[in-house]
């Protein structure tokens, strides 16, 4: 439980962080809340040579609303999403999902940018941003680019983010249309065994821990768009997926949970 030796750099700004990433290449990792990275380092599953600490970039801690969009700084803590009155008004789903991440200690350290960049298919917030049709803003040496959440995640802990890029902002459309998130786990602090997120009255449906990335349940969405009932659409939730297997759930049980939770989320979102 002792990590391998590493160097530590404190980033003074996003530009500085990006230049440090460019300097150290894939030997460097950004450190934000550290609640995913540090445990992996303690198990020596990750052995970065350099940690670039972006946790002090307070100018990237904000929640701004306007023009139908909510813009959230990448270093915004889960607890800040959970307790933000502005977010509760503009995009209550994101605030609600943030409140279900880990435990209070995790939520006070973990950041929205960090959890998106970590790209863990079992995490709650990436799937929520996916269902909401969000956009990820990444800064690299050549400037910033916007990436649709649907294009962002590419595999287990993998995304289109380059080694020298950092997420600076996450945007989601403002909206209070029927939404719900069903998180199923055994202990309150754990990752979801399976989760189902429904946004905008069923226009956006996503699944947690049902594959190598957070997954947009497009089959469910199109069935609903075609007039299917919630039960009919939810029955399609696991179709074509290859869910992971672990001590909590094999593929058959995970698929069952995906169907049950999707139907519950749809019903709770007001989709009959």
């Amino acid at each position: 439980m002792i990590p391998a030796a590493f160097d530590y750099e404190v980033a003074e700004s996003a530009d500085h962080a990006v230049s440090l990433l460019a300097e150290h290449g894939d030997d460097a990792k950004l450190l934000a809340g550290g609640h995913s990275l540090i445990p992996m380092m303690r198990y020596r599953l990750a052995t970065p040579g350099v940690l670039v600490d972006v946790g002090r970039l307070d100018d990237l801690r904000y929640i701004r609303t306007g023009n139908g969009t909510v813009s959230i700084g990448a270093l915004t803590r889960h607890s800040e999403l959970e307790h933000s009155a502005a977010l509760a008004e503009a995009c209550p789903m994101l605030a609600s999902v943030a409140a279900l991440v880990g435990d209070p200690a995790v939520r006070h350290r973990g950041t929205l940018g960090g959890t998106i960049a970590h790209a863990d298919p079992a995490s709650d917030l990436p799937a929520a941003v996916l269902a909401l049709g969000g956009t990820i803003v990444a800064q690299g040496p050549g400037g910033s680019r916007e990436i649709a959440a649907t294009d962002f995640f590419t595999g287990y802990f993998e995304s289109v983010l380059a080694d020298d890029e950092m997420i600076t902002e996450v945007r989601v459309p403002a909206g209070t249309g029927g939404w719900n998130y069903q998180k199923f786990n055994r202990r309150a602090q754990d990752w979801a065994i399976v989760g189902a997120a429904v946004a905008d009255g069923g226009a956006g449906v996503s699944l947690v821990n049902m594959g190598s990335t957070p997954i947009r349940a497009s089959g469910v969405e199109s069935a609903l768009a075609g007039g299917a009932s919630a039960a009919e659409a939810a029955a399609l939730a696991a179709d074509g997926l290859e869910p992971p297997e672990d001590l909590n759930a094999d593929a058959e049980y995970r698929s069952h949970l995906a169907r049950v939770l999707t139907e519950r989320a749809l019903n709770a979102a007001g989709v009959a």
């Binding site: 002792i2 199923f184 202990r187 309150a188 602090q189 754990d190 065994i193 058959e252 049980y253």
Partner: protein, 796 residues
């Protein structure tokens, strides 16, 4: 007698806050890893990645290139350190028990994942960890025995090639009544025959293990600091294993962050650090990591249980017959083989069952050794008999509370001699159950349960009962002798009163979270009429408390607390003699209360204890021949065990769509005898219940077919948190134990013993109409969902 409603007359019985807590909560308390030992050699242990393999080679070259790594030593290199010595097992339960030689570091063959195969010596803990990770071990894999029943299958690979089988021993308890048992089963109207699995559990105390051995090279002395429950036993064993004179050895347990039995042991690292420290003339230390602890510290449970009940038409049980297979793991640790025996006397539970047969065959597997874990044998026994009693209730067609009522040992039957050969001290099992049933509101719960079924709700209610009796107050030394245990069961205490009338208590009990300092102070304060804050309690250091047998098995209060009580009385007797001398009265005419000796009938003739204490110190005017000072020592060997008991009721809501089990209510009524501090009792019961519920619902040391521990971290090994704790509703019903003067019994393991069967009985109760009759532990959502699907005739 019920004491819960009675206002305590003194400190005993009051909910006094623990005097231990300020230091613990502020970080002032020092644990093993807090010790500053300049110049210490740090040990990193290289552990086998294979369940069973020959060690072909150990390459330390990469490790030695790391800054701060000084040596890499194989088991072969280290062998001269222990010579003929090996890790001790103190409980040879049968004359022919097989006890393979267990070296601190394996020489040629690794027997389980986590087995120590090499050691790195380094300048820091960091370098030790880096070095251990860099050592390359060349293994030649051997076939591994992983599951218990595979160990005794025909053609099973041998865990120990030099033994002719994987069977460690077979121990039985049936006397000459085998024909009566056969007759009972032949004539039975109802026979229950069940097979239950006790999964392995990882103890996971808040503080993992650690030790530091500090030599005094000039004098040849060694001080061993260890996060242990048993400094006294560890001292004797270390002296024997390494051939160190006991007069040269001191063992200290600093603040210890829990143990649950896993620190009731003598471990490889303690022997290794001690031997190296003596050899090198420098402090040698090791601190266990959390992931390391999962495989290097003993695990608990690990049994396959077969239990049969034979009952008459009314459901009165006439015979119980039990056969166990118990998993020892790869080696025998300190009391590994005895753990099943501690339950072996209790498979009749709280019930008057005239015919009893118990047999245990213990086997070696290529897994981490097992040993005592909270309850040690008694949770397993209680689980089997309480699950079987529910099955019998179904067979007879009566409620769980009715089947228990028909079989309970009656309140008028005490002292009760059980068919397993124990004499139970006191109890009123029916009164306890009645209280629990009332507190749980069982009628209302059952109505709610029925309504849910009527409504066709997917969320079903289940109600589970568990009545338990355990044997605590370990133990009468002569009884231990009859069980071939290698030590006695007494406990020692010294009570001293200083010149200024402060009290020093030295106890051989070794707290690691229980609250001895608070409870011992309450006991002494009441007897002496002093303030509990004027009592200091010294412990856990063999130089300060040289005599003791330490803390395990809910023994501290019933044995160690009784020794303190008796030593206090002995001091009072001496003080009384001095008081009589000063007051020129007969001792028989003196009364002692509130810290003052008075001559009966002569109110003005009195002397406070403080005056006697100072007079005893100056020794200017003591009775002829009396030694100065107020001090007394008692070693108390209990005449019998104590038998705490209780009934717990769990209420669960099972989501039949997902298999999720929610523990919505939990009622516990316990008889732990007289309570010294109800606040501490409740804390023990709360934690114990959650630890038992953890076995029922969450925790499982899962091994794959290669013998790899799959649930090796706290993300996969699900220790529940406060968020998973049920709503606890507690009450008590004390029948004071006649075995000791305070009437105490013990409560450290009660919750754990009772909770697992209560919870699983509740889960099965919720699903009974779906055809489910059994659910394995832990009843994970997937396990429950699949049990429903299987009962319904296939996956849904």
């Amino acid at each position: 007698m019920t004491i819960t409603e009675d206002a305590p007359a003194g400190h005993v019985g009051s909910r006094r806050l623990r005097k231990e807590d300020p230091a613990l909560l502020t970080g002032e308390a020092k644990f093993i890893d807090d010790l500053a030992l300049p110049g210490a050699i740090w040990v990193g242990v290289v552990r086998s990645s294979e369940a069973h393999a020959n060690i072909v080679g150990i390459d330390g070259s990469a490790a030695l290139e790391i800054d701060g790594v000084n040596e890499v030593l194989s088991g072969e290199d280290l062998a001269p350190l222990w010579g003929e010595g090996a890790l001790p097992c103190a409980w040879p339960v049968t004359p022919d028990m097989k006890n393979p030689t267990h070296l601190p570091v394996a020489r040629s063959t690794a027997k389980y994942v986590g087995d120590a195969v090499a050691v790195v010596l380094a300048d820091s803990r960091y370098a030790a960890a880096d070095g251990a990770a860099a050592v390359v071990v060349d293994y030649e894999p051997l076939p591994a025995v992983v599951e218990i029943e595979d160990a005794v299958a025909d053609g099973a690979p041998l865990v120990h090639a030099d033994l002719d089988s994987n069977e460690c021993y077979t121990w039985g308890l049936w006397g000459d009544n085998a024909p009566a048992i056969d007759a009972a089963f032949a004539e039975a109207a109802h026979v229950v025959s069940e097979r239950y699995l006790q999964q392995r559990l990882i103890p996971a105390p808040m503080e993992p293990r650690g030790c530091a051995a500090v030599p005094s090279p000039a004098g040849g002395e060694l001080t061993l600091y260890s996060a242990t429950q048993i400094p006294h036993i560890l001292k004797v064993m270390t002296a024997v294993v390494l051939g160190i004179g006991e007069n040269k050895l001191r063992v200290v347990a600093p603040s210890v962050g829990g143990g649950f039995g896993c620190k009731l042991n003598v471990y490889a690292e303690e022997i290794l650090c001690s031997a190296l420290a003596m050899q090198r003339g420098a402090p040698v230390r090791w601190t266990e990591g959390r992931a390391e602890a999962a495989v290097s510290t003993i695990q608990g449970r690990g049994q396959v249980q077969h239990i049969e009940l034979a009952a008459d038409a009314d459901g009165k049980v006439q015979a119980v017959r039990v056969k166990l297979l118990a998993d020892m793991g790869a080696y025998l640790q300190l009391v590994t083989p005895g753990v099943p025996l501690l339950g072996g006397f209790l498979y009749h539970g709280c019930y008057d069952i005239p015919n009893y047969m118990f047999e245990c065959t213990s086997v070696f597997t290529n897994r981490t050794p097992t040993d005592a874990y909270r309850g040690a044998g008694r949770p397993e026994a209680t689980y089997a008999v309480e699950r079987a009693m529910d099955a019998l209730a179904v067979s007879v067609g009566v409620s769980p509370e009715e089947i228990r009522a028909r079989n309970f040992i009656g309140a008028d039957a005490f002292p009760y001699e059980s068919s397993a050969g124990l004499v139970f001290d006191s109890g009123d099992y029916q009164a306890v159950l009645d209280k629990a049933v009332a507190l749980a509101g069982l009628d209302e719960r059952r109505a709610e349960q029925a309504q849910r079924l009527t409504d066709g709700s997917s969320k079903r209610i289940g109600i589970g009962l568990s009545s338990y009796v355990e044997m605590c107050g370990l133990a009468p030394s002569r009884v231990l002798a009859s069980l071939d245990y290698g030590a006695g069961g007494w406990e020692a205490a010294t009570v001293r009163i200083s010149p200024t009338c402060k009290v020093q208590v030295v106890t051989g009990s070794t707290p690691h979270g229980q609250g001895h300092e608070t409870c011992w102070s309450q006991i002494v304060a009441d007897k002496l009429g002093v303030d509990p804050d004027d009592v200091e309690v010294l412990h856990s250091d063999t130089a300060i408390s040289p005599t003791g047998l330490d803390t395990y098995g809910s023994r501290s209060l019933a044995v160690g607390g009784t020794a303190v009580y008796m030593a206090t009385e002995k001091v009072i007797d001496k003080a009384r003699a001095i008081a009589a001398h000063q007051l020129e009265a007969s001792e028989d005419d003196l009364e002692f209360s509130g810290g003052v000796f008075r001559v009966r009938g002569t109110p003005e003739a009195e002397v406070p204890l403080a005056g006697i204490a100072f007079a005893a110190f100056t020794a200017h005017d003591l009775p002829d021949g009396m030694e100065p000072n107020l001090e007394a020592h008692v070693t108390y060997d209990p005449p019998n065990f104590t038998f705490p008991n209780g009934t717990h009721i769990a209420v669960v809501e099972v989501d039949t769509d997902t298999g999720d089990v929610d523990l919505v209510d939990y009622v516990a009524v316990d008889d732990c005898g007289v309570q010294i501090n109800p606040l501490i009792v409740e804390g023990q019961v709360h934690g114990g219940i959650l630890q038992g519920a953890a076995q029922a619902l969450y925790e499982d040391a899962v091994y794959n077919s290669d013998g790899q521990l799959v649930s090796a971290n706290l993300g996969d090994y699900l220790v529940p948190s406060a968020a998973e704790a049920p709503r606890y509703r507690l009450d008590s019903h004390a029948t004071p134990s006649p075995t000791n003067p305070m009437g105490v019994k013990g409560v450290g393991e009660a919750g754990t013993i009772a909770a697992a069967p209560a919870v699983i009985n509740a889960v099965v109760d919720a699903l009974r109409d779906l055809g489910v009759t059994d659910v394995d532990m832990p009843a994970s959502p997937q396990t429950v969902w699949r049990a429903i699907a299987d009962a319904q005739g296939g996956a849904s």
